[in-house]
């Protein structure tokens, strides 16, 4: 008995003592969401969903083309508005907030979105993309053990990413962006990962304003890039 116990304990202590590196965790994460090969083929993602605001469903449509543009259309109580971001510009038209015509986004906001236009994710080939990643150990996020990675992104704000230690899905990101000289932190929770064309995407995304529940997600279907054009012209 003693003989069995000893190697067991040794192995266990070896396992726990073996510090995971950022790269190992990233590799496992990428594998968990479909693998690098499949992700490198992602060129567009179109998502439709709803947010519930006081019992009223608000429609959200997100159309992303890899490194070309991102457009969100929001429909609230019979009105529609949108926000467009491209690598160099951005605009928004939110009539529910009283806007009567599209307005350009400040440069800060465009820059803060730049790395998010990378649909294949900041983790794939992160070094080549100019990001750095630091492993900060594990942390309990609302009762779920997570690996904590600090991602210093090339263009946009630094991100702390929490990866479920069991599923290796990202369950939370916390992004710091700089607006008007102030650091603003935005927390995003992700869940309900589902398979779409071999890759795993979160169908439920929670930000401070509410949770977007996706009703349809399409990958690599063609998108008319005119939707990212300057709407003020």
């Amino acid at each position: 008995m003693k003989k069995v116990l000893l190697p067991l304990m040794l192995i266990f202590s070896a396992v726990t003592a073996m510090a995971q590196t950022a790269d190992e965790i990233i590799d496992k994460h990428i594998a968990a969401i479909g693998g690098k090969e499949k992700w490198l083929k992602v060129k567009s993602v179109q998502m439709e969903g709803t947010v519930n605001v006081m019992g009223r469903e608000v429609g959200v449509k997100v159309t992303n083309v890899h490194n070309i543009g991102s457009r969100q259309d929001i429909s609230v109580a019979g009105m529609t508005g949108y926000a467009i971001v491209t690598p160099t510009n951005g605009w928004q038209f939110m009539p529910f907030q009283g806007q009567t015509k599209p307005e350009p986004l400040p440069a800060d906001a465009v820059k803060a979105s730049l790395d998010d236009l990378d649909l294949q994710g900041n983790f794939i080939d992160y070094k080549a993309k100019g990001h750095t990643v630091e492993y900060l150990g594990t942390e309990d996020i609302e009762g779920t053990e997570c690996h904590k990675l600090k991602v210093t992104r090339k263009n946009s704000g630094d991100q702390t990413v929490f990866i479920d230690a069991e599923t290796f899905y990202v369950i939370r990101t916390s992004t710091k962006i700089n607006m008007n000289g102030q650091e603003i932190e935005t927390k995003t929770d992700m869940s309900d990962y589902r398979d779409v064309n071999g890759i795993k995407l979160a169908f439920s995304i929670t930000q401070p304003f509410g949770t977007v529940v996706m009703t349809s997600v399409k990958v690599n279907e063609s998108v008319d890039e005119k939707i990212f054009a300057d709407p003020t012209k």
């Binding site: 069995v4 190697p7 067991l8 192995i11 519930n52 605001v53 006081m54 019992g55 009223r56 609230v76 109580a77 019979g78 009105m79 009539p95 529910f96 907030q97 009283g98 009567t100 900060l136 309990d140 609302e142 009762g143 779920t144 600090k150 702390t160 479920d164 599923t167 899905y169 369950i171 102030q182 650091e183 869940s191 309900d192 990962y193 589902r194 169908f203 439920s204 509410g210 949770t211 529940v213």
Partner: protein
């Protein structure tokens, strides 16, 4: 090998089959609210700004961790909530300001000072912290300095333990950026380092001061042979005393400052023997000293006021933050009070940061928060947004909303409602008594009366309606010894009888609000005369403020089940009870000692069980003898035998309070100097409560509200913290926790729109602790976080109709979702140009039975929920029905209108772009006419031209919405005029409906046929009202 592998693989399975452990995560979303307030804030111990980004400032506090502002104090965030909350020093590496060191364990060595557990470092400006350096046993850190030319060199001045001898004190130096430290200046087990400074021009020149000091529970000594001022010329390797010019004799605490613009100029406030304490200066790097000012503010309480700073640009301008704020323009020869106008600044100052780029800007840390001056201290503005008050005790009453009472270190006694319109803000806190506040308790019967006290038993009856106080302290009677009142004298209202109790060495009881008292005990203490020499306390400087009073009663508790059973615990280890209302007392001190609790320990709290007279809990605090262990104990036989409630994981921090739940006898809460612990199995196992409670909060007192079921914590550094409605904790068992999904039986919900109105513009500034939920949330338990599938709650009425579908959270543990007691808002017409609040308003449901359906992925769990009319509300049930009917009429009209607009828009959509295709000119004209008429109709039904959000455009949709939101959104029956208006709008809607039908009748078939004739396909046929199916 194969066998081994199999064994290995089996292990995780066994682990997962083990019982689900109840811990903080089990209670998921039950997150505490921080009530603060910020109005009196609390003791600030360290302030450090970032020189190149001076809007970024780090604030270290006595018991509230570290707070950071990046906007000169417009807002602060706590950045140290998982670590020890007592902060001694903060240092920013100005070469790389993302690197910050925090030394835990405040070094303002007053009786109530907390204890630290080492040094922490961040390399990302406070997002992540690591304990470094192996300084865990220093207990107190006074100063950290980083070599400005070499960030790897860090010095830490550690006075070391206050209550015991220790080798872990002195000056420490790191040469590897804080990873490891070497003790470079060590004096003795009794004397540590109190200050350190580096010459910025020649960083090998280092100055340090050493201090010999000791507290006992009944005395304090500052000063001894270990004290002195030291200098090293080789980066800390070799040291020599530099005291030439100082008077001979013992040295106490020395506060040292160097003029940054002229580093050979030093100022030191030295506590010295024979009344020689004063400010001394040197202009030759400490080689020779010269006496300067010894004004009151310079010499006052050297052990407590160890702060002196020199203006970064002007070597002659010296600041002395102490009892008050004084400045000198002649290098310390003379001082004057700096503050002239601009309001009161809290006395007792411990920290000052001067912006080196703009030396007019001063940040001052006091016993009552942070102040900012932009004119070198002449005027100050208070930062009311730091909720770091140091409560000693907390109590609740039965008002609605209930009020919270508590007394704070150096900040008097306060009362606030637990809920208020707009949230519990600074403004709703009422100051009821002065001095250092301790027990502040409501009278059992009279809602206008509370009792409060300041240090040394100076107690009063306070009329809450006008703030007037009457002193009620019992007096020495015939044959009594001089009364000995603890610093923190127990002042207590009996849970059974409602009588008022207090204790000196005797216990007193009053049944008439303190007007008359009866002594109901003999001296319950050890009455050890050796522990009663407080007049000799202080060391080199006399200091006897009742803080060292000893051999006193410290805690009193009446049994909730028997008014004649009273327990009293003393600060010198006696634990006594009476079963006859005080005629005879039994001392059980020897009995608890048998359970391994040291004798002469402070009995910090006693909790006679509310379920069984024989059961009693107590906490014991032995930290004043250098022992920090957590002693929480229970006796099942009225104190004859005791069991330590240890649990399998070590609790941290000496114990202040044990609280038994009012409903579940197995649910216990324990407050220690380092956190809140909870046990759901009668103390067998404990877990740290983290639910938005700073993990190491100094939890001094705990109350549970009898009807609201809130857990109310009095913390010594984070103000009042409330966990709303702990029922889910009460009902949690290991069996429940083992289930995948549990929908907790919902409470009966009363129909009302919350407790308070919405108010207008929100108040800004200060701290706001928010409100408890105004509608009780629906609660459910998830064993694990849901990572695939959606989670929602559906409310279904008795006919099976979906009332509302509510998105729900997926956290591990208890989740909460609020049903606003309403249905789903009406469908609104598409294509509007203004946000219509009617689109977010649904009528409140009628009383009755509803079903709550919790949907988790493909699993569904249901419970019934009863919704009842608010009998105490502003309307009758009949009126509620009238309101519902009126609201539903408008709701239906809005949906009818939406359908009408939908028909119009869809028809227009078909026409649009196709009209020009018609070859026949007449038909083309007709089609265009049709389109334009429809647009005209649409423009009458709803606002279609958005000129500006400030330009009102009201059409039928907006008019219906206006009445609808007024009727459905108010808690009132509809008025006669609203009802009349509904009929008028109904007529308008019918008229528009008629007009639409008429237009469609006139044009639709004709126009559609024209398209058909020319073979222009318009898509699938539309069902058009008034025109049959066509097109």
């Amino acid at each position: 090998m194969k066998k081994l592998l199999t064994a290995l693989l089996c292990v995780p399975a066994t682990l997962s089959m083990a019982q689900t452990k109840i811990n903080s995560a089990t209670f998921g979303m039950m997150e505490a609210r921080w009530l603060g307030p910020g109005t009196m804030s609390g003791r600030i111990t360290a302030i450090q700004g970032v020189n190149n980004e001076p809007k970024t400032i780090y604030i270290g506090t006595a018991g509230g961790g570290v707070w950071k502002t990046t906007n000169s104090g417009a807002s602060f965030k706590p950045i140290f909530d998982k670590y020890c909350q007592s902060i001694g020093a903060v240092a920013v590496d100005q070469k790389n300001p993302k690197v910050i060191f925090v030394g835990t364990g405040e070094s303002n060595m007053r009786n109530s000072v907390s204890i630290g557990n080492g040094l922490y470092k961040t390399t990302d400006a406070g997002d992540n912290w690591t304990k470094v350096g192996g300084l865990d046993s220093t207990e107190h850190i006074a100063e950290i300095v980083i070599n400005p030319k070499n960030s790897n060199e860090v010095y830490v001045a550690a006075p070391g333990p206050l209550w015991s001898d220790s080798k872990h004190r002195g000056l420490y130096k790191s040469e590897d950026g804080g990873k490891t430290f070497k003790q470079v200046l060590y004096i003795s087990e009794k004397a540590g380092a109190a200050d350190v400074a580096i010459d910025p021009e020649n960083p090998n020149v280092v100055y340090a001061t050493t201090w010999e000091f000791r507290r006992k529970p009944y005395s304090f000594n500052s000063g001894g042979p270990g004290g002195g001022i030291w200098k090293s010329l080789d980066g800390g390797k070799n040291w020599r005393r530099i005291q030439s010019g100082l008077p001979q004799g013992l040295i106490g605490r020395v506060a040292l400052a160097m003029a940054p613009s002229s580093p050979k100029n030093l100022v030191a406030i030295a506590e010295l023997e024979n009344n020689k304490t004063g400010l001394y200066i040197s202009d030759d790097g400490g080689e020779n000293w010269k006496a300067q000012s010894a004004s009151l503010n310079v010499v006052s309480r050297p052990f407590y006021f160890a702060c002196i700073e020199v203006d970064p640009k002007d070597p002659k301008r010296v600041y002395r933050p102490a009892f008050s704020f004084a400045y000198s323009v002649d290098g310390g020869y003379s001082f004057a009070e700096a503050s002239s106008e601009g309001g009161w600044v809290h006395s007792d100052h411990h920290a000052l940061w001067i912006n080196p780029n703009a030396t007019n800007e001063l940040w001052l840390g006091t016993d009552g928060g942070v102040y900012l001056s932009l004119d070198k201290g002449a005027t100050w503005s208070f930062k009311g947004n730091l909720p770091v008050g140091q409560f000693y005790h907390v109590a609740v009453d039965n008002a609605n909303p209930y009020r919270i009472y508590g007394g704070l270190q150096d900040n008097g006694s306060w009362v606030a409602p637990s809920a208020a319109p707009g949230g519990v803000s600074n403004a709703v806190w009422q100051d009821v008594y002065g001095g250092d506040g301790f027990w502040t308790v409501p009278d059992a019967k009279d809602p206008n009366i509370c009792f409060a006290e300041y240090q040394g038993g100076n107690m009063a009856r306070v009329n809450l309606t006008n703030g007037k106080a009457v002193a009620i302290q019992p007096q020495k009677g015939p044959g009594d010894e001089d009364l000995r009142w603890n610093w923190n004298t127990p002042l207590y209202v009996g849970t059974y009888t409602g009588a008022l109790y207090c204790g000196a060495q005797y216990v007193y009881r009053s049944t008439d609000q303190g007007r008359n008292w009866t002594r109901i005990s003999p001296d319950l203490t050890t009455n050890d005369k050796n522990k009663q020499k407080q007049e000799e306390s202080g060391g080199l400087s006399a200091d006897n403020t009742s803080a060292e009073n000893h051999c006193t009663v410290f805690t009193i508790a009446e049994s909730p089940v028997d008014g004649n059973m009273i327990w009293a615990g003393t600060d010198d280890g006696n634990l006594q009870y009476t079963l006859d209302g005080g005629k005879t007392w039994t001392n059980v001190a020897a009995n608890y000692a048998a359970a391994g609790i040291p004798a002469q320990t402070w009995v910090s709290s006693i909790e006679p069980s509310g379920f069984d007279k024989n059961v009693v809990y107590a906490t014991f605090d032995n930290h004043m003898y250098g022992d920090h262990k957590t002693y929480v104990a229970r006796s099942n036989d009225m104190g004859k035998t005791w069991t330590l409630l240890k649990g399998s994981e070590a609790m941290e921090g000496f114990a202040h309070k044990i609280k038994e739940d009012l409903k579940n006898k197995d649910l216990l809460f324990a407050g220690t100097e380092m956190g809140l612990y909870c046990s759901t199995n009668g103390g067998k196992e404990w877990f740290r409560m983290k639910n938005n409670i700073p993990w190491y909060a100094l939890v001094r007192d705990i109350a549970i509200h009898p009807t609201k079921h809130d857990l109310v914590l009095g913390t010594h550094g984070r103000g009042v913290i409330v966990v709303d409605d702990i029922s889910p904790i009460r009902n949690m068992t290991e069996d429940v926790a083992a289930k995948d999904i549990v929908l907790l039986k919902p409470e009966k919900l009363t129909l009302r729109d919350g407790q308070f109105g919405g108010g207008g513009f929100p108040g800004t500034g200060g701290w706001n602790g928010g409100n408890p939920p105004s509608i009780q949330p629906i609660k459910y338990y998830l064993k694990d976080r849901v990572s695939s599938g959606d989670v929602k709650v559906e409310i279904v009425d008795k006919d099976g109709k979906l009332v509302q579908s509510i998105p729900a959270t997926k956290r591990k543990g208890i989740n909460m979702v609020t049903w606003n007691l309403r249905g789903t808002p009406p469908k609104m017409a598409e294509g509007g140009v203004k946000l219509d609040f009617g689109a977010f308003t649904a009528p409140m449901v009628l009383p009755g039975e509803y079903t709550v359906k919790l949907v988790v992925g493909d699993k569904v769990v249901t419970e019934q929920i009863t919704v009842v009319h608010d009998e105490k509300g502003d309307m009758t049930l009949e009126e509620r029905k009238q309101q519902y009917d009126a609201a539903m009429k408008l709701f239906n009209m809005q949906e009818e209108l939406a359908a009408l607009v939908d028909t119009i828009s869809k028809t227009q959509e078909k026409l649009k772009g196709n009209i020009e295709k018609l070859q026949n000119k007449k038909n083309r004209q007709a089609a265009q006419e049709y389109y334009d008429k429809l647009e005209e109709l649409r423009g009458k039904l709803m606002a279609t031209k958005n000129k500006s959000m400030f330009a009102d455009e009201k059409r039928l949709k907006e008019e219906i919405s206006e009445v609808y939101t007024a009727v459905a959104g108010n808690e009132a029956a509809p008025s006669n005029m609203q009802i009349q208006r509904i009929d008028l709008l109904k007529q308008d809607l019918q008229k528009q409906d008629g007009a639409t039908k008429a237009v469609m009748q006139q044009y639709h078939q004709k126009v559609m046929q024209a398209f058909e004739k020319e073979k222009i396909y318009l898509g699938p046929k539309l069902k058009v009202s008034g025109a049959g199916t066509s097109g």
